[in-house]
Amino acid sequence: MYNSYSVNTLAYNAELCNGCGMCVAVCPHAVFEMNERKAHLFQPLACMECGACQLNCVTGAITVESGVGCAAAMMRAALLGLPEAECSCG
């Protein structure tokens, strides 16, 4: 069965990692784990693209197109020509 969640925009460059462990601390879905003083992608497909790891990675080893995974917000954006980030969650 088709699974639209089988790809995402998370990318990790291990060469830049300094082993600080911040990505492990901030990720709500245990996408990273530490292994021999380096971060490893443990379950990349669990990433929800919240952007916390990228923002808190001081070496720029992680990139992800962060955004809110909210269909209503995207439809509203498409219909009204608004920027997509405007989610109405409260």
Binding site: M1, V7, M22, A25, A72, G90
Partner: protein
Amino acid sequence: MINLDTITINSRPNIFSTTPQLSRANHWDHFLARLGYKRSQHCVEPGLYAIGNPSPDSPVFVTANYTLSFDALRSNLNGIDGYILVLDTNGVNVWCAAGKKTFSTEEIVLRVTATQLKKVVNRHVLILPQLGAPGVAAHEVKKRTGFKVEYGPVRATDLPEYLKTRQATSVMRQVNFPLRDRIILIPVDFVHLILPTVLAALVFYFFLGGLLPALAVLAVLFSAGILFPILLPWLPTHNFSTKGFFLGFLTALPFALSVFIRHPDWTWYHQAGQAFGFLLAMPAVVAFISLNFTGSTTFTSKTGVRREMFAYLPAMAWIFAAGIILNIAFAFIR
């Protein structure tokens, strides 16, 4: 960028005080907030609060100025002396505010400066809820304020445990979406769906086929608004749309069958036509509402939701149109 010069800094830090106890008024406010009533008015005054009897060595906790966020934090600090730094997130919870970047590096810098936090505490550490991280760069905060950011657990209930070791276990770091949380979300979406549903049900009842289609509309609301969030993990397939189609099909089956039972005298194509009307239109609407539930969940990525929309939205529209046309057509050809 907020201009720090425009903030008047008093000579003495202004500290509000609070307690871990929740009053009856607090609980009532939580109840209304969960219903989505006056959404943006469940606010706490931003600033610095003392809880218990803090000394300059006590920890500083940061939270949003949404009453549910603030109260979840303070009610879990029973017996702990500390400070709470409340950011101005326009009354939005920590995670959503971090996504909108109102719970942000910028706001922390502003609040730390405005409250003169440096004069209040000796240990320059801020304990943030982990879910604030999508809006905050810890190293930036350190650079701009001198305060080290420590990400605490996701849930405030884990704070007492966390404070013993200052280490969050991997369980404390993970967000899940248990039944309780899914049920709590039901009223918020339900409130938005009631009016259109009742209108649609009335239109069907009086103009387009009578009681059965009107009941079908109500069944769709019940199915998509209440059953879907509850059954989410157990519905088959990965995508919300296909889960919704599946649930909608089950919801439509009794309606389709009832056509044959209630109208044995109709011709077979008349029966089949109306039965198919239900089997097409109802699942399409349930699927659509289910797809919208992605916004309330804790794990869908933007990429995945967008791909799901491209994959299923056109199908939903066509199937819905076909179902409605069948239903209406056969309601009139008597």
